[in-house]
């Protein structure tokens, strides 16, 4: 299983801050497609995806137990 986090505006679209999903073996790009299908209002293209607290590449592949996160454009400071 993979844990998926959503933050800020994305969390308001999904209605959940995190969930577990059977996405082992998916690439990061496939994870974005999965989320876009599940949550039609999500702008997955604008978000970066982190895996295990580091920005990931589209071709990176999810391993069982990984923690993924959709990171919408940041606005700290």
């Amino acid at each position: 299983m993979i844990t998926v986090h959503y933050f800020a505006g994305l969390k308001e679209v999904t209605g959940v801050s995190q969930e577990q999903a059977n996405l082992s073996g998916y690439t990061v790009q496939q994870l974005a497609q999965w989320a876009a299908e599940k949550y039609p209002g999500i702008d997955a293209g604008a978000a970066r995806i982190a895996v295990n607290e580091e920005y990931a590449l589209p071709e990176d592949r999810l391993q069982p137990g990984d923690v993924a996160a959709f990171i919408p454009p940041v606005s700290g400071g």
């Binding site: 986090h5 505006g9 982190a50 996160a69 454009p73 606005s75 700290g76």
Partner: protein, 146 residues
């Protein structure tokens, strides 16, 4: 208290200046970013910040490492507050020490620019007539934040 941290309480900037002060340092720059009431004609009532805390702290530490690499001898401490903040509250503090002042000034500005690029923290502005997560820049102008 950690050198790079996300906090939920009021920030005391002096703590972070003290963390980077050492005998080799001839300069300490201390930047505090505050909640601004007016942004391009829109009045903010208060802000709510959210962070992906473990990753945000890692990314703050990464910025500190980048600074050490670019300005050898510079040391950095950064804290960002999350939760609800009122006008004029400190949202972020950046302390940089270095042997000479130029590096301390430059590295401090570098740190805030990098925070706005890579650290997973989000700001929601609450106005009199609504609210919005900032980042998509819909109603709000360019990211000229603090």
């Amino acid at each position: 208290m950690k050198t790079f941290e996300i906090v939920t309480h009021a920030i005391d900037p002096q703590h972070y200046a003290d963390m980077v002060l050492r005998p080799e340092a001839g300069a300490v720059t201390l930047f505090t970013g505050h909640v601004r009431e007016w942004t391009k004609g829109v009045r903010t009532l208060y802000l709510a910040y959210e962070a992906y805390v473990p990753m945000a702290e890692k990314k703050l530490a990464q910025i500190g490492a980048e600074i050490e690499e670019r300005w050898p001898g510079a040391q950095t401490a950064i804290a960002h507050r999350i939760g609800e903040l009122a006008i004029s509250d400190i949202a972020v503090v950046i302390a940089v020490s270095s042997p000479h002042r130029k590096a301390a000034y430059e590295a401090n500005e570098y740190a805030i620019e990098r925070i706005k690029e890579i650290v997973p923290i989000w700001k929601k502005e609450i106005w009199e007539d609504g609210e919005e997560w900032i980042g998509d820049q819909k109603k709000k102008p360019e990211g000229d934040g603090v």
